[in-house]
């Protein structure tokens, strides 16, 4: 057939494993995106540091040295010391994993629940939609602090419960976004085509709608990581966040609040660390979104 010549842009003749093909195109696209590469390298670095960094830090992250408190950056303490004289550099490194854990898990939980509710709402419409979305409205209109207090009251005060509380705030955001996208995706003809093949609702939702509402989810998720870390730290003043001496960045930031004038580095350094992580994930998220979009040429 002549068409072979015409469409032979990608010279794949034999038929290798389709998942491999998918993965390799995905990889090729991902690595061809500048932002994905920069973001990816940053993320890998962050993860590596989070994993092995704590074994190489110069000081114990919880060792207080009250005689040397609130010192600015110096050779001995690269990023200075905090109000207990603890080495901020060591704490940043040591707290990386817990911070990532907080940010990630909160986003993951909020996203999972929100996406689920949003898809159900958008796909089925009608009463289900009304009920779910009204409920989301209630959540949105409800002050987060109270919700967090109540959750912790029921489940007890632990970092994990705080994560749940933070996740709950982000559910309506995801639900709204996903519902909107679902409404437009479900109108596409290919959804009707698989329906006409006899596909069940579950198959349509998970195999056909979900992947196609992925991009806004990715964008929102990468942004939410920052807000989740910050919200979690905001709760620590209610005694709900990370407990001392846990070097969770949000808590470090909040701690630094009292020394904003004399020793602004105590709050600024964890703040910058959060921004770097957020930046890394956003860059990567942008690249990921493009790579997941098959319409973008490789």
């Amino acid at each position: 057939m002549r068409e072979e010549i015409n469409t032979g842009a990608a010279q794949i003749k034999a038929a290798p494993n389709p998942t491999l093909v998918k993965l390799s195109t995905f990889w090729r696209k991902l690595t061809s995106s500048k932002s994905a590469v920069v973001g990816g390298i940053l993320i890998i670095a962050i993860i590596l540091i989070a994993l092995i960094g704590p074994y190489f830090v110069p000081y114990s992250p919880s060792a207080t040295d009250t005689a040397n408190r609130l010192n600015g950056p110096s050779l001995a303490h690269w990023l200075g010391t905090d109000n207990y004289g603890r080495d901020i550099f060591s704490r940043i490194i040591d707290g990386m994993s817990i911070t990532l854990y907080v940010g990630f898990s909160a986003v993951l939980i909020g996203m999972t629940v929100g996406v689920f509710l949003g898809i159900i709402s958008g796909y089925y419409g009608g009463k289900i939609d009304t009920i779910i979305m009204r409920f989301m409205d209630i959540l949105l209109a409800f002050p987060g602090i109270l919700l967090a207090l109540a959750i912790v009251a029921v489940l007890g005060s632990s970092l994990n419960n705080v994560i749940i509380a933070v996740a709950v705030f982000s559910v309506p955001v995801f639900a709204r976004i996903v519902r909107g996208s679902t409404l437009s995706v479900k109108k596409l003809e290919y959804i009707d085509a698989v329906k006409a093949l006899g596909a069940s609702d579950a198959r349509i939702i998970f195999k056909h709608i979900l992947p196609n509402v992925a991009s806004p989810i990715i964008v929102q998720a990468t942004l939410s990581i920052a807000t989740s870390i910050l919200s979690a730290s905001g709760l620590s003043f209610l005694g709900l966040g990370a407990q001392p001496p846990m070097p969770e960045w949000g808590a470090m930031l909040a701690d630094g609040r009292n020394y904003m004038y004399d020793a602004p580095h105590v709050a600024t350094i964890p703040g910058i660390a959060i921004v770097i992580v957020v930046l890394a994930f956003n860059l990567f998220g942008d690249g990921l979104r493009d790579a997941l979009d098959p319409k973008m040429k490789n």
């Binding site: 057939m1 068409e3 072979e4 015409n6 469409t7 842009a9 990608a10 794949i12 003749k13 034999a14 038929a15 290798p16 389709p18 093909v21 998918k22 195109t25 596409l188 003809e189 290919y190 009707d192 085509a193 698989v194 329906k195 006409a196 093949l197 006899g198 596909a199 069940s200 198959r203 195999k207 056909h208 992947p211 196609n212 997941l292 098959p294 319409k295 040429k297």
Partner: protein, 335 residues
Amino acid sequence: MPKELLKVKDLKQYFPIKGGLLGRTINHVKAVDGITFDVYEGETVSIVGESGCGKSTTGRAILRLDEPTAGEVEFDGEDLLALSKKDMRKKRKDLQVIFQDPYASINPRQTVRQILEEALEIQNVVPKNERAKKIADLMEVVGLGAHQADRFPHEFSGGQRQRIGIARALSVDPKLIIADEAVSALDVSIQAQVINLMKQLQRDFALTYLFISHDLGVVRHISDRVIVMYLGKIVEIGDKTSIFDNPHHPYTKALLSAIPVPDPDAQSERVLLEGDVPSPINPPQGCRFHTRCPFATERCRVEAPELRNIDGMKEGHMGACHFMEEIKNGTHQVE
């Protein structure tokens, strides 16, 4: 007389319009408003008409992609509308659909193989270990070549994508295929390829087509019988030659005359219709075409015409106009 595969009786599809203080239904879009026709095994029936006249809605209602408001759809002797959701899913093996938009009608995230595999899996047409072969066969049948199975839709041209859609429809060995504007989006040179393919498949697999199109050239080429719709109603139905060479309804005539002929010497007498198709929310009383019909009389404004056969029409050729005889004889008087 060949067997009737599909019998549609008095099919209605109303879409609710919400509004008012409590968001209740305050009105309906009467997209399809009581149409009746049969499709015989192995033939191609086309539905033509202007945009919004209810062609697609008819197709979707038959497939139960939207649940019809009223009417009967009998397929192969079985009432489709009475089936449970689950039984309907099984039944879907026999009725397939090809859509207009070669870009929107296949999931951009699946390779051709995955698309076909999924279809086979859903209806479990062939055992798992034979699926690869079946896919390869299908690819050859639609002229794509088995080696292209692992590519993504965006790596194909529009015509090729439409072939993927056809392969997907064929994969479950259906009896009836509803083709909703299946070739409208394609360039002429590609369109011809796909039309030829569809005709060939019909011969090879004894398929029946319900072919929805607004392109009368294509319709004339592919159909055995033609249904002309206007604003949710059938205005004329008949075999292809009757409709094209001996149209009786004024709308059919206007429609045929409006199409530009690719021949600079052709001197057609054009019936120019005034205005646009009215809204299906509040369709005109009486004959729905009367607002644009050059022959409309008071009767047309009040009384809705029935489909009927008159002298000089072939058997099975029917029009829905009060004045078919008069117009034909040239004795019609517009008040």
